[in-house]
Symmetry: C2
Subunit: 233 residues, 2 copies
DNA sequence: GAGAGCTCCAATGTATACACTGATTACGAG
DNA sequence: CTCGTAATCAGTGTATACATTGGAGCTCTC
């Protein structure tokens, strides 16, 4: 594998899982020594991350972007537009078989979630596979690209939300409804069920994500636009 | 301005206006000599174009992507999802003033289009400004990014469609309705009017765009997936 | 003559040297 | 002490040299 790809994947993973916190400055020389490659592949990786929206490149030095509460709302607005459309297209065009398989797995989700922590990874794998299946079934390469970009940011937000088992069980039910709608070739229901799911998911995310601008914050702090993750010194 | 930016803009412009036809192979050394810069900025430009979806980088050599009829349909599906949402958000949140100005300009569009060729550029400027105003009014940075990506590809398709004045006059009317809906803060109407406009626009694009797979094409040619623009030798 | 393997080369991937720019800091004048 | 200016330098932007890889064409064998 190319060094630039390794650098990109490493940095992206570290940003998504929070190892590199928002506000972290990524300097080319520093990262190249840390990752054991030269500046050239690091530069390519950084440009890619900028294109992904995970890094901000205004002027000197690339900075890991923050995720504000407004960003969460904005992202969910975009997700709704994209995923509702994708679900509708999948209902119209999709093959049944992959969704039948996912339906069976979703039916077992409550048992998984009853296990607590160890069941979380397999549960999210089902959800991710559903996303992939819908993307595939929609048969639209432009939509697929947009969805992948959105999934990247969703992964970051997922980390910020508390995973309470009750919410996840409810989410599994919402996913199940989407799958049923696709299998029934009911595009409108698939679209609306997606809308409902994202609405519930956003509500939960906003309720559990750390607050940007706590009540006692001074006016000047609020003006700066508070964000999740540590402030730069 | 940075050499890499110049290289990117030059190549992008040439791809969008058809100077670089689909299938054209963009080799780093060749382009660097042609553009008068070294390989480094050319590489960055090419990576950016790949991210934009204007260039395909599978294996050796970057190739300007083709635009198939399926791609046109796919792009319009994505546009509908994004632009309908954007129009709805603009109706909810937008400031009136920019849309009042655009409304006035749109009212003059028929006169512009009556001039024939010389009126085309100013007409499209109004449309582009409307797009920008909606993007701005929607106040959603993620949506804005997605819209910009879509506009890039739309610009290519616009070239492929014959501009018959009758269609453009009708389009101006459709745009006007979208603006009125936003000014009336009627999100649903703005969304649906956008849907209508894109439907009409797609119909026109498909009717006037050159066919992919002409009737007399052999089976093997059809299997390869015919596309607009010349085939590589 | 056809096929497999090999050789050579062209093009990309990576490293590094050089150029430039903008920010910071130290110094001097007021 | 403060403000302005200049010098320094850290870090990015660009060019180029070197490494690697994948493929095209040739040859040799069967």
């Amino acid at each position: 594998m190319r060094a630039s790809d390794r650098a990109y994947r490493t940095l992206r993973t570290e940003i998504l899982d929070g190892t590199l916190e928002p506000g972290t400055v990524l300097q080319e020389v520093e990262q190249s020594t840390r990752l054991g490659v030269s500046r050239t592949p690091v530069r390519e990786a950084l440009r890619q991350l900028v294109a992904d929206g995970l890094v901000d490149a205004s002027g000197r030095g690339a900075v890991v972007t923050a995720v504000s509460r407004d960003d969460i709302v904005s992202l969910y607005e975009l997700r709704e537009a994209l995923e509702a459309k994708a679900a509708a297209l999948a209902a119209q065009r999709g093959e049944a078989i992959p969704f039948l398989l996912i339906r069976d797995r979703l039916l077992g989700a409550p048992q998984l979630l009853a296990q607590g922590e160890p069941g979380l990874a397999p549960y999210f794998e089902i959800v991710d596979d559903l996303d992939d299946a819908i993307e595939e079934a929609a048969g639209n390469p432009f939509l697929a690209t947009a969805l992948r970009s959105v999934q990247l940011h969703s992964a970051r937000i997922r980390r910020l939300s508390r995973h309470n088992p009750e919410r996840l069980r409810a989410a599994a039910g919402e996913h199940l409804l989407i799958v049923e709608a696709i299998l029934a070739r009911d595009a409108e229901l698939a679209s609306h069920a997606t809308h409902v799911h994202l609405h519930m998911s956003l509500t939960n995310a906003l309720a559990t994500a750390p607050a940007d601008a706590p009540a006692g914050t001074s006016a000047s702090d609020a003006d700066e636009g508070a964000t999740l993750g540590p402030r730069v010194a």
